[in-house]
């Protein structure tokens, strides 16, 4: 127990007639204090939230009906991801074929490989042109006002400029699915992606695939 040295014991005798002062023990029972301490620890462990929330930036394009203002995507670089129910992803590259032969099914575990493969294919088919120089210059300088650091690999910055991922969440897709796929864009460093509504054809295809 916690104790304080109470002096040298009986080493020096007091004279006759001198009353011995009653020695009180300085030991304190610490058990209740320990109980209380652990009770509080338990309370704080349960109430504490260690990880503070972070934020993810999302920039949406302005809706426009004018054709010339719309961003054009090259067919060869387009990858369309359709988010269905029960965490299923459907995807196709380029345009959807009439017979829907390029309409494939995937999942959140496998979609990363699909994106990586598509990116590699786009890089392999890259042709250097005028638009590239602008992108390279931008990457070389970075953007300190928005916290974007200069890219040491700026020469490679424009290799994947034709890659556009189109994300189309179905009405049955959850918010988590949407965030996960946006996250996947960040993870695979896809620079151009868009969130768009489904076409009726695609809705039907999803329904058909789900039926099977």
């Amino acid at each position: 127990m916690a104790s304080i040295d109470e002096g040298g014991g009986d080493s020096h005798k007091k004279g006759p007639g001198v009353k011995k002062a009653k020695k009180l023990s300085t030991r304190v029972d610490m058990t209740p204090m320990v109980d209380l301490g652990f009770l509080l620890i338990t309370f704080f462990i349960f109430t504490t939230t260690m990880s503070s929330p972070t934020t993810m930036d999302l920039f949406m394009p302005k809706d426009t009906d004018k054709d010339e203002e719309q961003n054009k995507a090259k067919e060869s670089g387009a990858l369309t991801l359709l988010l269905g129910k029960n965490d299923v992803i459907y995807y196709y590259e380029g345009q959807l074929k009439e017979d829907a032969s390029n309409f494939l099914t995937s999942s959140f575990g496998k979609i990363r490989q699909v994106i990586i493969d598509k990116k590699k294919a786009v890089i392999a088919a890259h042709v250097h042109d005028e638009g590239c120089k602008k992108i390279q210059e931008k990457a070389r300088l970075g953007d300190p006002t928005r916290g974007i650091k200069p890219d040491p690999n700026w020469q490679k910055a424009c290799l994947d400029k034709d890659l556009v991922v189109v994300i189309k969440p179905d009405d049955e897709a959850t918010y988590k699915n949407t965030i996960d796929i946006l996250d996947e864009m960040a993870i695979n460093d896809v620079k151009r992606y868009a969130m768009v509504d489904l076409f009726p054809v695609e809705k039907e295809l999803i329904k058909k695939t789900e039926g099977n």
């Binding site: 127990m1 916690a2 610490m30 058990t31 204090m33 320990v34 301490g37 652990f38 509080l40 620890i41 704080f44 462990i45 109430t47 504490t48 939230t49 260690m50 990880s51 503070s52 929330p53 972070t54 934020t55 993810m56 930036d57 999302l58 920039f59 949406m60 394009p61 302005k62 809706d63 988010l83 990363r112 650091k149 040491p152 969440p169 179905d170 009405d171 049955e172 897709a173 959850t174 918010y175 988590k176 699915n177 949407t178 965030i179 996960d180 946006l182 996250d183 960040a186 993870i187 695979n188 460093d189 509504d197």
Partner: protein
């Protein structure tokens, strides 16, 4: 027979180090704890690899839970007059017939999750008792619904100040709710959002982990 004497040993253990450690841990938890502000809805946010902290500033936040109920928060840093202006403006334009006390109550209310028609009922309750009232959520549809007007009024009340827009959604909320919320913002020409998420590790071997590793150097 001489009995063998077993020396009696004290069972008391020195508890001092034990107590020291216990209180050290206790102090740590007290310091590290950040109490969650009471929110009217339980929302489990999705995870993302984004590492940005939430900036402390004036903000409008839209929260939606797994049932698709939409809530609206106005978070002025200190100035409560902004919040009061929003409700005063709304009271006259929508003929809500709120009393001054009810409008003051609005300032104290954390989040609003009722249509305009239910606003008077909500605000007639004291803030502590609002939890007992089940809020059906602000109506949101493809054209923006009432949320559109909430955002418009609040944005104009904040005119001239920098304002952030947070969206906090539940994992299991369906996409149409999110789309409705986005539409309400888009109709107000607000196109830049902060989605509130929880931090998640970047999967190794991916491009992002390569970029992050490079930036660290």
């Amino acid at each position: 027979m001489p009995s063998v004497k077993i020396p009696k040993k004290s069972t008391a253990v020195d508890m001092t180090p034990f107590v020291d450690v216990a209180f050290l841990i206790l102090t740590f938890f007290i310091m590290a704890t950040k109490f969650k502000p009471a929110e009217p809805v339980e929302v489990t946010t999705p995870n993302s690899v984004s590492t940005k902290d939430i900036p402390e500033s004036d903000a409008l936040q839209v929260t939606f839970d797994k049932e698709g109920r939409v809530f609206f928060h106005i978070k002025p840093e200190k100035d409560i007059s902004i919040k009061l202006n929003v409700i005063k403006n709304l009271n006259t334009t929508r003929n809500l017939g709120l009393t001054d006390a009810e409008m003051m109550n609005f300032v104290k209310t954390e989040a609003i999750g009722v249509p305009y028609s239910g606003l008077k009922q909500l605000l007639s309750l004291p803030v502590e008792n609002q939890g007992s009232l089940r809020q059906p959520g602000i109506p949101v549809d493809s054209t923006g619904g009432e949320l559109l007007f909430w955002i418009r009024d609040a944005t104009s009340a904040f005119a001239g100040k920098s304002l952030k827009y947070y969206i906090k959604g539940d994992n299991n909320a369906k996409y149409p709710t999110f789309k409705g919320v986005l539409n309400a913002f888009k109709k107000n020409d607000i196109l830049k959002f902060n989605l509130i998420t929880m931090l998640e590790d970047v999967p190794s071997g991916t491009e992002l982990s390569a970029i992050r590793g490079r930036d660290k150097k």
